[in-house]
């Protein structure tokens, strides 16, 4: 039966995507950028919407939530997957509300006023059937995909507003967003870039070679020299893996030290992060926040005799509190860290924060 084929094909695709996620996460950072992951997740969700069997919005949301939980369980540290799932859920809710004809509520958040005036539980369980819901949802997901494709360009377009000539800019590790940002600014302005190599994966080396190919004066420094050279730096521009709900960052290890050094010298810290990296998580779960990879990167097996008597740690991420950040540059413009919670309410529905 064609339907069954479609279903098996669909589940195959989902399985393939899951295994891809699991494999990527164990290597040095991500072998694919977050943008790619976001795009793939969204196309997969579109396919699910198109091919899965559902009759009303509630069913669809159930299916997506189930698949979403599986996907995030595959690689918990890759938060863009969960973010995209939440975005799609929000799209479904909106389309449903539009189809029903009810005006969208301006404020989705729980407020005391709403509790008092709503009188009882919220009306719909999304059980009504609308014929055009599927088409609308798929169209909306397509819009989301186009937005995703344009994020890097949107961010790079703002580069000239933030970089003046003869500046010294410091960055750490490798971020494709920051790379595009700096390359765009380099077309019109001349400046220097100092890249901290970010041991043990040393992704800063790739970043430096790619920047220097565009004729940007680049210098590679070891992580230990971050504070030593910070006094001559005008701006620090970094990318991040996730933007947390309080405005803090989960970024590559070494970023917290960089942020502290920048604060000490009163150097502005600018984070270039597209909106799909914004995640409704808070940083308070100590055990689940960190991700570790093999300590072989830090203390190789050639050090044989002492290995058994020593604990070696190799964390991948760092938490940067929002007080150390000056500005977020995203595809919708520049924002202060104190505004992040507001942006989050526009992107995700509060009931979707827990998948």
């Amino acid at each position: 039966m064609p339907g069954a084929d479609k279903e098996t094909e669909l589940s195959e695709r989902i399985e393939a995507f899951l295994s891809e996620l699991k494999r990527c996460g164990s290597g040095a950072g991500s072998l694919r950028g977050s943008a790619e992951t976001a795009r793939e997740t969204t196309s997969l969700l579109r396919r699910i919407t198109a091919q899965a069997r559902w009759s009303n919005a509630g069913d669809l949301m159930e299916i997506i939530r189930k698949e979403g939980r599986r996907m995030t369980a595959g690689q918990p540290s890759e938060t863009t997957v969960g973010n995209m799932v939440r975005r799609v859920l929000k799209i479904i809710r909106e389309e449903y509300a539009r189809s029903r004809g009810s005006t969208e509520e301006a404020d989705q958040q729980e407020s005391l006023h709403k509790l008092l005036t709503s009188g009882g539980s919220s009306e719909d369980n999304f059980r009504q059937h609308f014929t055009h819901l599927k088409a609308n949802v798929i169209e909306a997901i397509n819009e989301l995909l186009t937005e995703l494709e344009g994020t890097t360009d949107n961010i790079s377009m703002q580069a000239l507003e933030h970089i003046h000539s003869n500046e010294v800019i410091m960055t750490i590790g490798r971020s494709r967003t920051v790379e595009a940002f700096l390359k765009d600014a380099a077309r019109k302005r001349k400046f220097h870039v100092i890249v901290a190599e970010c041991a043990p994966f040393c992704q800063g080396h790739e970043m430096a070679t790619s920047l220097s190919k565009e004729d940007i004066e680049t210098t590679v420094i070891p992580d230990a020299a971050i504070f030593a050279v910070m006094s001559r730096v005008n701006k620090v521009i970094i990318g991040t893996q996730t933007v947390l709900a309080n405005g803090g960052l989960r970024a590559v290890n070494g970023t917290h030290t960089l942020a502290l050094a920048a604060k000490h010298h009163s150097t502005p810290l600018i984070v270039c992060a597209p909106m799909f990296k914004l995640s409704p998580q808070f940083p308070n779960e100590e055990d689940t926040f960190h991700k570790f990879v093999s300590p072989h990167e830090v203390l190789p097996f050639t050090e044989g005799e002492i290995l058994s008597k020593v604990n070696a740690h190799c964390p991948v991420f760092d938490y940067v509190p929002p007080e150390l950040i000056t500005l977020f540059i995203s595809n919708i413009g520049g924002n202060a860290p104190s505004y992040i919670y507001r942006l989050m309410s526009e992107l995700y529905h509060p009931e979707d924060h827990e998948l």
């Binding site: 041991a199 940007i216 004066e217 050279v229 502290l260 830090v298 604990n311």
Partner: protein, 540 residues
């Protein structure tokens, strides 16, 4: 006219009015005056001045000391009436002061000079007398004299100045034995230097400094050549190790030294050491501890009395060096360990950075004293010295954890104390140490973890510095290249025009990050370093 002890001091040629001062600086044997004899001469002249001030007045003794010829001897006659007023205050002040206060005599002289300048037009000599008077009274100067120090900027921070480079090249050429034309080679820089650091040298480990030395290099002692190579290849690293190796090599040099005829051991040996020191600084810039050690040796050598026989002098010098090593390094580390162990309590989690021989010694001693603690060793590329520290501590049986410096924010919440070693302590309270130390202190401060720096007093130096740029050392940039998964991105960094690699060796930590400095004199705050320096100078 002869002086009291029979030397020809000056002969006055009444015909031309010029005073011969040619014989002034030669004693009976015709050799140059040694430092003691010059000092004695000056003291005698002062005595002379005191005795004769009533009869002849200041102008005559000033004339005796003048280096340039002065006009006719008839001048004293004309000057003395003019100076009748001046000598009077001179007498009064001189009789009033028990010991000659240099400040007062300078002021008196200035008054005399002004009066003299009014009567005659030889104003140029005035400054010289003032200088000579203060020079003669220097031995009696009290420590609270704030003498302006005019320092010459060291060569190794003037790489971008072509004039300074030329001077260095000339100096190295000059340091050659007269007969054999071999000299200390000038090492050339390697690779593209980041513009902020173009004033510093950047050498490559692959081109050793001995490439241009001819064989036999009789200017440079072979053990010095070996030491220089060990420095430049990084075989001997760490400020204590380098100083000790230097002192042992100097002992060897002194052992092999023989005074040439007609030379004084005290002066000739110092001259012999200069090309060695230039060679070593070409191999690797001298550290503050090495600088202090060299100063000490030179002082000891020049204080050898001339009557001392050669063997005796050599033995004395070797004993001096041994006692220096023993006191300043070995005993100092024992004293520091004693103080530091008081600061380690049971259940502590101690963070150390890199490999500091002193900190390792402290931890081993504390472990022997049955303190229960565990250690976290933080390491950084490209030197990865922490692994050496890790090996030593694990061998002792101490429980250790090992992380790289980028994981510092992760590991710091567990830490209760941070122990850091130092390369030098600067006079404004800044701590100069391995690059990365300031970062550790910064993050520890953010987490409110106490930072303790352990440093012997012989590493204290008079320099002041506020950032890590002006005076630093650039290591071989190729060290930053790493091969991961078979790929190394920076392999051809030299071919890319706009790419530079920066491998700093040292950085300075501001004193507000450091809570305590443990030295062999006790536990002091960072800001008390100039006090210790002052006390040391008075002692010496």
């Amino acid at each position: 006219m002869a002086d009291s002890d029979g030397r020809q001091v000056d002969g006055v040629n009444h015909a031309t009015g010029k005073i011969y001062r040619l014989k002034l600086f030669f004693n009976n044997e015709g050799k140059e005056l040694t430092k003691e004899e010059k000092q004695r001469l000056r003291k005698e002249k002062k005595q002379h001045k005191k005795n004769k001030k009533d009869d002849k007045g200041p102008p005559e003794k000033e004339k005796e000391k003048e280096k340039a010829s002065v006009p006719a001897p008839s001048k004293p006659a004309t000057q003395s009436p003019a100076h009748k007023a001046a000598p009077a205050p001179v007498h009064a002040s001189e009789s009033a002061a028990a010991a000659e206060k240099p400040a007062k005599s300078k002021a008196e002289l200035r008054a005399e000079r002004r009066a003299r300048q009014d009567s005659e037009r030889t104003s140029k000599h005035g400054k010289k007398e003032g200088g000579q008077q203060s020079a003669s009274s220097k031995p009696k100067a009290t420590p609270n004299e704030l003498q302006p120090v005019v320092k010459r900027l060291p060569e190794h921070v003037q790489v971008d100045d072509p004039a300074a480079l030329k001077k260095l090249a000339k100096k190295l050429e000059r340091q050659q034995v007269r007969q054999i034309h071999s000299h200390v080679p000038l090492r050339s820089d390697y690779g593209y230097k980041v513009s902020l650091f173009s004033h510093l040298h950047q050498y490559s480990r692959k081109s050793p400094p001995t490439l241009q030395i001819s064989i036999p290099a009789t200017v440079i002692h072979p053990s010095i050549v070996r030491l220089g190579l060990q420095y430049s290849q990084g075989i001997i690293a760490g400020s204590n190790a380098r100083s000790v190796a230097l002192l042992h090599t100097f002992k060897q040099v002194i052992q092999d030294y023989s005074t040439p005829p007609n030379e004084e051991l005290s002066r000739d040996l110092v001259n012999k050491l200069s090309p060695y020191i230039s060679f070593l600084s070409q191999c690797r810039p001298l550290s503050a501890s090495m600088g202090n050690a060299i100063k000490y040796i030179k002082k000891e050598i020049s204080n050898i009395p001339s009557q001392c026989k050669e063997e005796e002098a050599k033995g004395k010098l070797q004993a001096c060096i041994d006692s220096y090593i023993n006191e300043k390094i070995i005993l100092a580390s024992e004293a520091i360990s004693k103080y530091a162990i008081e600061k380690i309590s049971d259940g502590d989690v101690i963070l150390v950075y890199g490999c500091s021989s002193l900190v390792n010694h402290i931890l081993c001693k504390a472990f022997e004293k049955q303190r229960k603690f565990r250690v976290i060793v933080v390491d950084s590329r490209p030197r990865l010295e922490g692994r050496e520290a890790l090996r030593r501590l694990v061998k002792k049986g101490i429980r250790c954890t090992y992380v790289l410096i980028s994981a510092l924010s992760y590991i710091l919440p567990e830490v209760s104390k941070v122990f850091l070693g130092a390369h030098a302590l600067l006079a404004n309270g800044y701590v100069m140490s391995r690059v990365g130390t300031s970062q550790i202190a910064l993050v520890a401060k953010a987490y409110n973890v106490p930072v303790l720096v352990c440093c012997e007093t012989y590493k204290f130096c008079e320099r002041v510095q506020t950032d890590s740029f002006v005076s630093n050392e650039l290591d071989d940039p190729d060290d930053l290249i790493v091969t991961r998964n078979g790929k190394s991105h920076l392999e051809n960094w030299q071919t890319v025009k706009s790419l530079g690699l920066l491998n700093l060796v040292y950085d300075v930590t501001p004193p507000d990050f450091v809570d305590l400095v443990i030295t062999d004199l006790g536990m002091i705050p960072c800001t008390s370093v100039p006090v210790v320096l002052r006390v040391k100078n008075v002692d010496q």
